[in-house]
């Protein structure tokens, strides 16, 4: 090993050490734990993949996986679309743009738990703002939004979209700013209208930024916990339960450490798959352009 190589190893060593201790070892430990039945009431026993078998056969668990996937797909799709719209607006030059840019970021800056509590109040069936908007003073028609399956699911997704669309907008805005202005000018001279310019120039050149936003949002969406914990705790009847909350229920209130670890590992694997696919796509896109 020459001295330069040695120095390089020495320089990355602290980072490798920290990643190994704080990232890798918990993941490995969680996987090992997931192979055991581990409760306070019986000796810890090795049960192989039994926890995973339960996870894919138990209807409560599969229902949870189903809603987690619905949540991830619907919320990220909406966030990217709304984020793109927001980014296009705040990219334009107009009076008070600074103010609008700041306003767009407010939901993202609010802590998730606070946002969850706020939405819970707004959706309350007695004094909720949402009911006031829809029904005014007609109290008899007020709806308990979090009490029935589909409106509760929509509420959770809606709160997440409200809160994180601006993050997607921020990433997409960065992409917009990297598109050279002369491309638009040339297109204008060639007679391309706004719609054509958007689909021929903006969108293709934004693809890396959009994919990046998609990557960040999807990874985050798989880890949704706080909104569910604050707004519904999985209610009604478990229809808004998500994997992270389900894992928490198993791990802490129910003290089933092995099974809870299996749930965590499943979330990790799902995120890893999505991330790998998206990162590969982002890379090829960037090389192409």
């Amino acid at each position: 090993m020459n001295s330069e190589r040695k120095a390089a190893y020495a320089l990355v060593a602290p980072a490798v050490f920290i990643v190994a201790v704080f990232v890798l070892s918990p993941i490995v430990q969680a996987f090992i734990n997931s192979l055991y039945r581990d409760t306070p009431f019986s000796p810890k026993t090795f049960i192989g993949l039994d926890n995973y078998r339960t996870l894919f056969s138990d209807s409560v668990a599969t229902g949870t996986i189903e809603f987690t996937l619905i949540f991830v797909i619907v919320s990220t799709a909406l966030e990217i679309l709304i984020g793109l719209g927001l980014a296009l607006v705040i990219h334009e030059h107009f009076k008070g743009r600074g103010l609008v840019r700041a306003a767009v970021l407010i939901p993202w800056a609010i802590p998730t738990v606070v946002a969850g509590v706020m939405w819970k109040y707004m959706l309350n069936d007695q004094y909720g703002f949402v009911n006031l908007v829809f029904y005014g003073s007609n109290v008899a028609n007020y709806v308990a939004w979090l009490a029935s399956e589909w409106s509760a699911r929509m509420a959770i997704i809606g709160a997440d979209v409200w809160k994180t669309s601006s993050f997607a907008a921020l990433l997409i805005l960065a992409g917009l700013q990297s598109i050279p202005e002369d491309l638009y000018e040339a297109a204008r001279i060639d007679g391309a209208n706004a719609v054509k310019r958007f689909f021929r120039i903006t969108l293709p050149l934004l693809k890396p930024a959009i994919l990046l936003a998609l990557l960040f949002r999807m990874m985050d969406a798989f880890r949704v916990f706080a909104l569910v914990y604050v707004m519904t705790q999985g209610a009604p009847g478990g229809s808004t339960n998500v994997l992270q909350y389900y894992g928490y229920q198993k791990m802490f209130p129910e003290q089933q450490f092995g099974y809870g670890s299996a749930v965590s590992v499943l979330v990790f694997v799902m995120i890893a798959i999505v991330a790998t696919i998206l990162i590969r796509t982002v890379r090829t896109r960037i090389y192409e352009s």
Binding site: F41, V60, Q126, V139, A144, A147, A235, Q256
Partner: protein
Amino acid sequence: MRRIVLIAGMLIVGMALFGCGGSDTESGVTSVNLVVWKPNIPAAWDSALAMFHEAHPDIKIVREIGPHSSSQFHDLVAQKLRNQDPSVDAFLMDVIWTPEFAAAGWAMPLDERFPPSEQDKFFDGCIQADVWDGKIYGVPLNIDAGILYYRKDLLDQYGFEPPTTWAAMIDQIDSIQAGENDPNLNGFSGQFRQYEGLICDMLEIVQSNGGRLTEPESPETMEAIAFVRNELIGDAAPEGVLTYSEQESLDLFTSGGAVFHRNWPYAWSVSKESPIAGQVGIARLPSFKDDMSTSTLGGWRFGISRYSKNPDAAWTVVEFFTSPQMQRHFAVNAGRAPARKTLYQDSAVLAANPHFEEMYPVFETATPRPRTPVYPEVSNILQRFLHSALSQDDADLEALAAKAATEMETALGRVQ
């Protein structure tokens, strides 16, 4: 390379320092770590601690305040005990935790310190709740039981006595609502959110029909659940009760939005300082059949950790906080119903809580929730089952009940 070793070494030392923040004992003073929830009325606890330190200068209580919610507090205490944390000496336990904490080996048996002659001074239900496998693991601090609150002014106006059956309650609601014609006036409010309170409320209704939560498929249980789903929720009670815990349901009642209300004894003192003060009456909960009125047993007790290094000092703390003097203190200053029976003849307690006298027979017959070390799991299964049954109009009750029964069987089978 030496530098890396140095950095690694520093990290390890740093982590070790973080990990063991040992308890410091001053000369001659033993410290006792007491884990309690965030109290409703903090002043009552502060003065109680001051009284303790005055009486026992050789012991210093280090209080760790956990979350107010019972289930979140459970997670904190269970986590500490599971890790055999020596910094926990004594802790508060909810009435449903004893089997779990005993079977897991977290709580210390107290039979030698808390003999039957002393146990006899407490409500039998509280003592039974603290026994697991023939040993006692907790000393009761207070007792709770569900009761029916009603709007005395409205019932008087329409010439009704407090209802003894659920059917009578529905009839009274129908007449009062027809007469008042007020869209803001609901018939009933209670706790039907998907959480522990749902178990308490539903146990009362199911068992007042002769059913059992642990037998979801029995006809009596099904009938009672069908009643709540078809005649209470979305009808006599707003659909929103499916999202209410104690606070929200009490808010609806104290703001004049409901004729009847189910809650714990503490709601009495809250209602006294609300817009409906002076118009509130209390009664036993209704039932389906005569003499079947059921109230769920609640309340808190102190336990001592098996990993405590100072069990004797911890016992001194527990003994002090559960003494007649302190239960009187918490009854007078925090409205907590004492677990000791004689205090229900105490003039100071009754002066502050005149309703306790009427509630004594309710406390005496309060019904415990299912007793098992895997109670948190059983509770989650029942919460899911009951909340699905109550919130989904097209739910197949029988299929849901059969599923809940199987899930409970699996959970119970996990304990040896």
